[in-house]
């Protein structure tokens, strides 16, 4: 890419963007700012848990925005996106904890979170390109299978590089890495080479959920700004051209190889960012947290929200996160109290094979989740908030009618 030589790039109109999208994006921003106050108010002063959940949901929002670049913009079906999430989290885990003391390095490394945010991004982007390279000739189903493999390999490698591996204990193996440093302000590098004396301001550790929440909102805003700018850039148009028709894209002069690598790589960098945050907030990373189901969940968020449309993808992520981690976990209790309230309390007791409504609903959790997905896709096949293009496409279809208009005029 000769990006550096280019004159200030012309801002292209956002493809398929409508006023509705702007309104929703602004509403989401206002909502994000007001949410902590709302949470505190609703819970009578103890909104910590809610705010904590919201910060976790933000991780998925960031992931969905990133995957949307790969799948929504460039049309490359990626079923192993969680791998880059893992790479971001492990990069942070290794470089900001005592973990590497047990490794052949025999030294703890405690780099500041703020630096590692960028490191995580770049490492993930690098691996994005590494995954992209062998898949350049593949499309659709074949590409999906290779990315699926990558998504399985990465957590396995992290699991393998633990106690007893030939290469040394880098990742804590099945136990993962615990005791990861929280982000702190102001940042300084502490370790054998620097003493506390170097600090000028009192240290502020991220302990309170609200600190993570604010940080997450900032990261999401940065992510949205970056993604919308990519969307309206030359690169964004090239991604869409490749998505629509790779041969035609090449025939119009798009370097499809570079363009696809950039999609994987830039998409992965969002995941690296999310992973770094995730590792820091949880203070623990373990290979189990990056299983196939995580990749699928993110993909569902993107597709269900409205592939290619950034506000749609954010809404999709929030909705799926809410359903999975709030609605479904509370549903058994809700069902039980609802049954009591309408006089069907006898359902709550267990009889023989019937485990009671509470347990039964718990058993059916993922059946219900599946049903919700099926219903949404039946009634909103284009996603909750599709881009205008998809709407136009569905409403108008491809018409041959106009041929005759032309004939009359011609």
């Amino acid at each position: 890419m000769k990006g550096a030589k280019e004159r200030a790039p012309k801002r292209l109109p956002l493809q398929g963007w409508t006023d509705r999208d702007t309104v929703i994006l602004r509403a989401l921003l206002v909502g994000a700012i007001l949410f902590p106050f709302f949470a505190t108010l609703v819970t009578g002063g103890s909104g910590g848990a809610l705010i904590n959940t919201a910060a976790d949901a933000g991780v998925y929002v960031l992931l969905a925005i990133g995957l949307n670049i790969v799948v929504g913009f460039a049309g490359l079906l990626d079923l192993g996106y969680a791998a880059f999430f893992a790479i971001g989290a492990y990069t942070y885990g290794m470089l900001a904890s005592g973990q590497l003391f047990g490794s052949p390095l025999h030294h703890e490394i405690h780099l500041p979170f703020w630096l590692l945010l960028f490191v995580g991004m770049f490492v993930a982007a690098g691996f994005g390109a590494i995954l992209g390279a062998p898949t350049l000739r593949l499309r659709g189903d074949y590409l999906a299978i290779v990315t699926l493999g990558f998504g399985e390999i990465v957590p396995s490698v992290f699991r393998y590089l633990g106690q007893g591996s030939v290469l040394g204990n880098w990742t804590g193996g099945v136990n993962g890495i615990a005791g990861i440093d929280p982000p702190s302000l102001p940042f300084g590098i502490s370790g054998p080479w620097s003493g506390e004396a170097l600090r000028f301001l009192p240290r502020f550790d991220f302990v309170d959920p609200i600190a993570y929440y604010v940080l997450m909102v900032i990261l999401v805003i940065v992510g949205v700004v970056a993604a919308t700018n990519l969307h309206r850039s030359r690169l964004g148009r090239a991604w869409m051209a490749v998505r629509e028709d790779e041969v035609a894209a090449a025939a119009t002069g798009v370097n499809t190889v570079a363009i696809k690598l950039l999609a994987f790589s830039i998409g992965a960098s969002f995941s690296g960012l999310a992973g770094t945050f995730y590792g820091a907030k949880l203070s623990l990373v373990s290979s189990e947290n990056f299983a196939f189901v995580v990749s699928v969940t993110i993909l569902i968020m993107v597709v269900l929200g409205g592939m290619g449309n950034i506000p749609g993808v954010i809404l999709g992520a929030l909705m799926i996160y809410y359903v999975l981690f709030n609605l479904l976990t509370n549903l058994p209790d809700l069902a039980a109290s609802f049954a009591s309230a309408i006089g069907l309390g006898f359902l709550n007791a267990s009889h023989g094979d019937w485990p009671g409504l509470h347990d039964e609903v718990q058993r059916m959790n993922f059946l219900i989740f599946g049903l919700i997905l099926v219903l949404v896709m039946l009634f909103r096949p284009q996603g909750l908030l599709p881009s205008r293009v998809r709407e136009q496409e569905l409403a108008k279809g491809v018409s041959e009618q106009a041929v005759f208009d032309l004939r009359e005029e011609g």
């Binding site: 493809q15 869409m240 035609a248 190889v257 496409e393 018409s399 041929v403």
Partner: protein
Amino acid sequence: MALLELENVDTYYGRVHALHGITLHIDEGEIVTLIGSNGAGKTTTLRTISGLTPAAKGQVRLRGKDITHVAPDEIVRLGIGHVPEGRRIFGRLTVRDNLFLGAFTRKDREGIRRDQEHVFKLFPRVKERLDQIGGTLSGGEQQMLAIGRGLMSRPRVLLLDEPSLGLAPILVDQIFDIIRDINQEGTTILLIEQNAAKALAVANRGYVLETGRIVKEGPTSTLLESPDVQKAYLGI
């Protein structure tokens, strides 16, 4: 020196040996047509020139410079535009974006704007549909957009693959008129057609392709008089 030359080109399409020793040339300012039946290798010839299916043997030269193994996007930069078979416009992008992508290799904003105006003059319909998505255009409009997109790279040579395919007769005439206009403005054209009568009427010279080999070539007037051509391609 010919503007574009193919010398003894062999191309494989997957495992199919599609082109056998193709040699042809196109001079500056000409319209040259390749005629032949389905599967004769016409599309493969264009794909070989534009680098989408590079030749296994032989050479493709642009102004004497070997471009046989140059990447497709670089070939566009060198001045060869390709309007692929079946239009292949970007169906879910707007007409505006389709044209924008046609000029993807260029940086001169002013020139791009002028060329876009020019495309609008050739195809007023395209201008009317600027903010509509490509897939909702009619077949004829899509073909016009495809040619317009091809022109946006400001090519020296424009490769046109079956521009009349699937169009109503009146539109076919319009498209051929426009091809002539484009040529008169200085763009050299290599035209592939199944509609041999129309193609031979518009072109200066022609090549007849059969199963990946050139079996006949010459000025179109000669080809039109050839009994073989008349029988096989003109239905006379």
